[in-house]
Point group: C2
Chain length 189, copies 2
């Protein structure tokens, strides 16, 4: 499902069409934008909700890249990577807007950026803006997921199809961070 | 109205609130996203319409930056700039989705990028993706416009409030291109 190259617009449209076929339902415009954008998702959530969005870190742990992850991140097997699981939500609400997992290769990171990326609770879009980093985003896959226990707990749901995408934020020709964002089909309709 | 620094999320939300007050109407989620995104607008239009978006160049002319433009682009007065007016639309339709004006300082541009930016009909988001350019986008203003003759003709309307924003695409700490996008209040609702 995941690929090393960014998807073309046609590949993204095909992925959306396949999802719509499987669930016998059209995705909303906002859902389609959230699955395909190469802009800041935090910014989009703040504009949609009209107020600030923060992240709550649920898991933060260093891991050594196994073969699959090393391939995805274009790093060496065994290289240190920060793995993080976060909830994106408004400051004044318990409702989780988006569930996100991320993998950040530690080598090569500038010290200040590394600190913000791996030890603060600042959304990635705000870290990039703060440091005025010039980057690009490549979506690598868009699909459907079954909710596991972590997702059921996050979104307070029993069972529901989840929309998911993977993308890389690329800085100085290397993957700064790989992100998987997930939200329930019933959100953003 | 235009400023040299990118707007914060609060400033963008305030601009949207002021627009909504003036027109006594809430903007749609998609309109708000189009006015605030730091991602590719062409990509968003392709996802919303489900098919390719192209640009039709209506005006393309070199101009020498006057004092105001030089200040906006952070270049010297008199410096050569490419001014362009384009319509964004689907290949199979005459309907204009977005009307855009852009200003590209010519000095300092890499030859291949310059050629694509100033002489082809490729949308900017596709040029950036083609060359894998790492950039950032700063929205500098969001507001309402009265439709002038060019806008009335483009959108085949008589008189209607228009939503407008200015933003800069920044590459290697300089303004690669300054863009003004406009669409009627009745679009993307």
């Amino acid at each position: 499902m995941q690929r090393l190259k960014g998807m073309s617009i046609n590949e993204m449209l095909n992925s959306i069409a396949r999802i719509e076929e499987r669930i016998c339902l059209n995705l909303s415009d906002v859902q389609k934008i959230l699955l395909t954008t190469d802009g800041s998702v935090t910014r989009t959530l703040e504009v949609l909700t009209g107020r600030p969005v923060i992240i709550i870190t649920k898991v933060r742990t260093p891991i050594n890249a196994d073969e699959d992850l090393a391939k995805e991140l274009k790093i060496k097997v065994g290289e240190k990577t920060n793995y993080r699981v976060v909830h994106l939500k408004n400051t004044d609400s318990d409702r989780v807007l988006i569930f996100a997992r991320s993998w950040t290769p530690v080598m090569g990171l500038n010290g200040v950026i590394k600190k913000d990326l791996t030890s603060t609770d600042m959304p990635i879009g705000k870290i990039l803006a703060k440091h005025k980093l010039e980057t690009r985003r490549e979506v690598t896959s868009i699909g459907l997921l079954e909710a596991d226990d972590m997702l059921k707990e996050a979104f307070k749901i029993d069972s529901e199809p989840m929309l998911s995408r993977f993308y890389n934020i690329i800085y100085e020709s290397e993957i700064l961070i790989r992100i998987n964002e997930v939200f329930p089909l019933s959100s953003f309709r």
